[in-house]
Symmetry: C2
Subunit: 198 residues, 2 copies
């Protein structure tokens, strides 16, 4: 087996186990078995468990954002649809049987206080998502795209955690209606618009 393939299989197993059951709950030997590699190979690829944890989070960050962006660009016809398509994608994600909330929030809650690496990756992920959403709303005629993006990101994280804890995907619907209202309000206060009533 190639070193490259071993690394990929280890990361696949790590993503399934770490995301599904938590990081500290999964031992290196169970991970080795799930990946189908030897312990020696595992430590060749990742010298310590925290290296594997951070690599898992980094890969998941890239893939998660790529899937989100692909769904948005594929399903949103106009610039107005794009921010809302984010929440449609969330709904399909919540319905996935393996859904268990945000991997970065979970990892941060579990290891943030004792791992600067985990904290850094989680923070980077949230910043990247924020930047992506800011890009989406910047195409809209709103007065303060940064404000609207910040609000939408709150709805995203709130929906993710609520859906995870409650076990029901309905949070995506609430978030979408809230996003519609916030986008509408931002457009009403957009450049060239009169000040709102009050």
């Amino acid at each position: 087996m190639d070193q490259e393939e071993a690394r990929s299989r280890i990361l696949d197993a790590a993503e399934e186990l770490f995301y599904g059951r938590g990081i500290q709950t999964v031992g290196m030997d169970e991970l080795r078995a799930a990946a189908g590699v030897s312990l020696k190979r595992l430590y060749q690829c990742f010298p310590a468990k925290h290296d594997l944890v951070e690599a898992y989070l980094r890969r998941r960050d890239a893939r998660w954002r790529a899937e989100l962006a692909e769904h948005v660009s594929r399903h949103a016809a106009t610039a107005e649809d794009r921010p809302l398509a984010v929440f449609d994608w969330l709904r399909t994600w919540f319905a996935d049987p393996g859904f268990r909330g945000c991997a970065f929030i979970n990892s941060f809650g579990e290891l943030g206080p004792v791992s600067d690496g985990v904290t850094g990756v989680a923070r980077h992920h949230k910043q990247a998502v924020h930047a992506y959403v800011t890009g989406l709303v910047s195409a809209l005629p709103v007065g303060d795209p940064a404000l609207l993006a910040g609000q939408l990101v709150l709805l995203m994280d709130g929906a993710i955690t609520t859906a995870a804890v409650s076990g029901e995907p309905a949070a995506a619907e609430y978030a979408r209606t809230a996003a519609e209202a916030l986008v509408a309000a931002a457009r009403a206060a957009g450049p060239g618009a009169a000040a709102g009533p009050g």
Copy 2:
């Protein structure tokens, strides 16, 4: 030392350590030392660690919601102010040096998949907060209080997690402005109001 006092000191230490560093990171012996009780006493009060974890979460749930309700009832003059006062309280909480996100989301992310007890307490907490917010918005002339409450709860959870991961309390401001917009939109669509433009 009284049994009652021992129990209280243990729960105090558990809350500080579990919330601040995570549950699995804190051992029973460190907890015993922080509480200033003997190991025998510790296991008399809580026969196993998971008993202590669930007791910690239940007590924190009650206290957290009581503090929130007290702040709202004390600082909000009118029914219109009450939902927004929630976010003012969040802002002060985020600024606390010990703030580290939502104890229930953190615990759920760490132990949810392997502990039905933790999952149950986290779910109960979120349902109770939802019920409280529903009560707040039910006093407002809005068409669908349950919908607005669901939206506001998403903003709360999103703000809490964003503030925790980013380490900056600014999320509370975004959440408050979003809450204002959502309340205004719900009032515009409230009972007796004409349908909105669109």
